[in-house]
Assembly symmetry: D2
Homo-oligomer: 340 residues x 4
């Protein structure tokens, strides 16, 4: 099966190229980028020199792509707003589209407008596009041909919380989330704030209290809890390239044993979630370069809080790895194909 | 005035050597270390080669130190438990002692036993030893000759919270604290967990939920609030040498304007606390190498929480810089002497 | 085909576990470690949790291993001196042994004694054990069953130099080599010099002028040049986990075009050597996590020197990746199997 | 005495602000920057919040500055070419100017043109402007009012080599220099190549063989050797913020004892050069934040080479610290004033 990556000039795009180039069941037939059109991938992504042969970036006209009869599956690694320009014609042409942008992550156009300060570019497609965090979505999504891939912070938050909220084991109110992301979370942004000497040996919060991912988080947690969730989410930058470390405090309504039973049931056969024993703490280093989420929790009897920590690689389980996992599941490849 | 550092083999000890060697009003006359006795500081602390001349580590017998007629002020940079062995004879001999260990930070021997798993080595001295976070302590402490210097996490937490709790502007219950420390927070510990390849590109929680600093934090916050405080404190390791980034969520009982007025009043003439405008976020990089605490806060109207972030250099405002600041105030030197 | 790793407690051992667990044509049937016997790999190598299932470390008696009828191929990831204790009985039992230690890298027992300050533990095996840098060794080695895998610095040095010396395009005298290694080059050594705070933000030389790898380098370069080579080799530590950056200055005896023709001929069909155009400089970041060596050179007309820079991942092309590449070639698997 | 910094928007400018704000004998009366005019230093250089009070950047018209009757000494922290626009009127007005740019480092306008691809902007001033590496310059320079401050790489190279070349203890031909610089060596440049994710965990060469600093290095070494010097200089980027690690190979014409005697004589009373014993290796970490150069050497009897390693903080001894040291000497302040 032939695949294409649309808009592959950033770090997520590069990871997708890596994963698809090594994938046993698909071929990476096209990689597009407006800014890099005509250039060889081997020169622009020198870390992948041994994988990409003579492949070159092509220009990316949505209509032309939609007319392509060769390629079955398109990954969109584009900024929000831009992704829809491609998603729409590809969807209409019957292609499968896995979108890594925020365009189809929220359930309503109004929420999108509130979060992204612009009208939703294709509101009529929202209903057709399921939000697929593979471990948590029910199988109905596999029939869809336009799929929204969750963001990095939301993935690290939903994997521990959603099963517990569904089972009613924690309070849906008053959840406090603190997260630190490696700098690649900002993409390949060229700005003074992201040059090496500014970020090295530095930690700081940003975008409090209104980070854009909050609406995605709250919408998904609310669906799990069958009630509105309002979370306190504080994102930070950390002096490393990859990884998200998330710490969550929630009021417990059950024993720590019940928490663990719930997780073990939810993730028993899920190859990319590791539930660590209580008192063992996940480390971003252990998931870097993998599609795994490691998580664990302790119960603090003094406060009756559950304190959860979870870690992912923001570019893999938080973006490109997850997108490939979605592809694997949709096309009935082994879930781990190309991801070990 | 002649000063000595007892137990200077670690990172805090080294920072104290640096600060006292450059201090305009005191002389660093003696530096002790059991393990390094006889060795030149210039060889053991090569970063300070230009500052320490031919000074060598001496051995450190408490009785002998107490009999020394030359030295007026002793800084103890020793592990908890060991510090008391020196504090007691020095105190009895009428010396001034600034203790960077935990031995005199807690108000009762029973709390010490619960936190440090050993009986307090000198409980009869607890009353004589004030806990001095200079910006928050009232001036009575200056008469004391045995002074407990606060720990690094507690400093980054008390500076933002104590004025607000004293003024009743936040709820004393349900405070959630998340903190990330540079690796020097673990001292010069030689263990697999602290070698470069394990800590680089890595973030993780540790010691949840019962970190030893919790009792110090809760005792001090409780005094400020005039009621028991129970906090949820989650410490983490971050991939950098120095700095603590602390994020605190508390329920607000006032407007953000009142929060800021309170802070501005508390810190108007305090050279080492910078209150940043709401929406500007402190960065550990900006306080590394300084004795400053930078802090700011936002009010999230969706949750009615106050979200505070504060940063310090764990080895300076969190240890050695604070100790020198205490000395400056006790001896009526300018508060910033040797600390700019 | 079943394989085993003997002595897998260090970083090279961990990389071997990763590579062999994912390898399409072999099974990792046993992993031994004296210090970790009985423990699960998933706990000791948490980065590999998703790959190692329930495999546990076993104890490692040489005679017992030699009697094992199940396992065909043994990788030795042991310290020098210790490796021979296993190599000998395994070799006698007709097993294939790929040794990552220094025990069989040098051509004579006397050179080994001079370099490692101890008698060679199995001098009678030296002749049976070819030194195999796969891109440079001729095919005769494939018949051998005891194979010495080259060290990390020597690999980064030989790949650029050997073809040029064989072709007589540079002077074999007066070669100056400067190299910086990531900290994992020291292995998982727990010592003050390797804790995070000592190595972060730090660069320094070490072991000048007599680094142990010098004899391996000079012996191999001498064989290529058909004359004695004496090099000036200066190793350094760099503040990163993985990667070696090597810069070599040699007097040129040909044009830069002839240098490049020589390299292109030598490496035309070699998947793990990338010859970059003159003026493009290799970057350790681009080879981290790969088995590649990237190299390039410029001719400085002012000095008539050839200045070469080459980079490898010290744990992959400099150790475990190379060992797997050797296995692939010996067993006629595709050279890149399990290495992309 | 009042001083001003012209063009303080970069990292060297920031270090100058830090040093002059704390200096016991001068006042920092003005800081200019075209791009930041009107903004408070406390906001633009948040690391210096406690030092800079309400000082704001001013605009920077050369004529106006020259007419200023208040300020005696001007530091130019400007790009090459631009510095001369200020140096000329200030010099004509009788001000003292310490120039951190390259404009007055080379002895001739033609060499400048060859190195910087543009005509020298003020060739008639070249003779009036001594090149002052304080430990090596003879005292005549103190009469000058326009002074060229050496660059970072050249400082780390000249301090070890110049005394040896003057004494004829090494061959002036065939010197090989390999240097790794922290990323701040590139200044506060906002470009993809300098964002965190590109430079972290990365080492690479750049600008081989024609780095601009080569002419400055060769001119100065040639003056010391009384003969032309042609060096092989290979600069690299290293994954750290500050520090230069330089390794130099030269053919020895004396014993290692004579080398050390020469250095010890040259640097006996120099507070900012530490000569480490042979076999002890300088570490960039030990000089970060200081104005020191640490250096040592070994003699390799196998090659008859002297191998020198030296380290400096590129922003201090390689730029701003050195400029302040020059000021101290010119105005007969203690050489270390404000620099410990």
């Amino acid at each position: 099966m032939k695949t294409a990556i649309i808009g592959a000039s950033g770090y997520s795009g590069e990871e997708l190229v890596r994963l698809l180039s090594r994938h046993p069941f698909v071929e990476l037939a096209m990689v597009t980028s407006r800014s890099l059109a005509g250039k060889r991938l081997a020169d622009q992504m020198p870390a992948l020199r041994h994988l990409v042969g003579e492949l070159a970036f092509s220009a990316s006209d949505p209509a032309e792509l939609a007319a392509n009869t060769d390629i079955e599956l398109f990954f969109l690694a584009l900024p929000h707003g831009v992704a829809s320009e491609f998603a729409e014609p590809l969807f209409q042409a019957g292609k499968t589209v896995i979108d890594l942008s925020a365009d189809f992550r929220l359930g309503s156009a109004s929420l999108y407008q509130a979060s992204y300060d612009q009208p939703h570019p294709a509101p009529h497609l929202l209903e057709a596009a399921p939000y697929v965090l593979p471990e948590l979505a029910d199988d109905a999504w596999k029939a869809a041909s336009l799929i929204a891939c969750p963001g990095c912070y939301p993935t690290s938050i939903q994997l521990p919380l959603v099963p517990l909220l569904r089972a009613g084991l924690i309070q849906p109110k008053g959840i406090i989330i603190d997260a630190y992301s490696g700098v690649s979370g900002a993409g390949k942004k060229v700005a003074e704030n992201f040059i090496y000497c500014e970020r090295n040996e530095s930690m700081r919060a940003y975008s409090l209290p209104g980070h854009r991912h909050v609406s995605e988080i709250e919408e998904q947690l609310g669906r799990a809890a069958f009630t509105d969730c309002v979370v306190q989410f504080s994102p930070h930058l950390a002096p490393m390239t990859r990884g998200i470390s998330t710490t969550i405090v929630a009021q417990i309504k059950a024993s720590i044993g019940e928490i663990y039973s719930c997780w073990e049931k939810a993730y028993a056969d899920k190859p990319f979630v590791s539930v660590l024993s209580s008192g063992t703490f996940p480390d971003t280093k252990h998931v870097t370069g993998t599609n795994r989420c490691d998580l664990s929790a302790i119960h603090d009897p003094r406060t009756d809080n559950l304190v959860i920590t979870s870690v992912i690689d923001n570019l893999l389980k938080g973006a490109s790895g997850q997108a490939v996992q979605i592809m694997n599941l949709k096309y009935s490849f082994p879930e781990t194909a190309g991801l070990l």
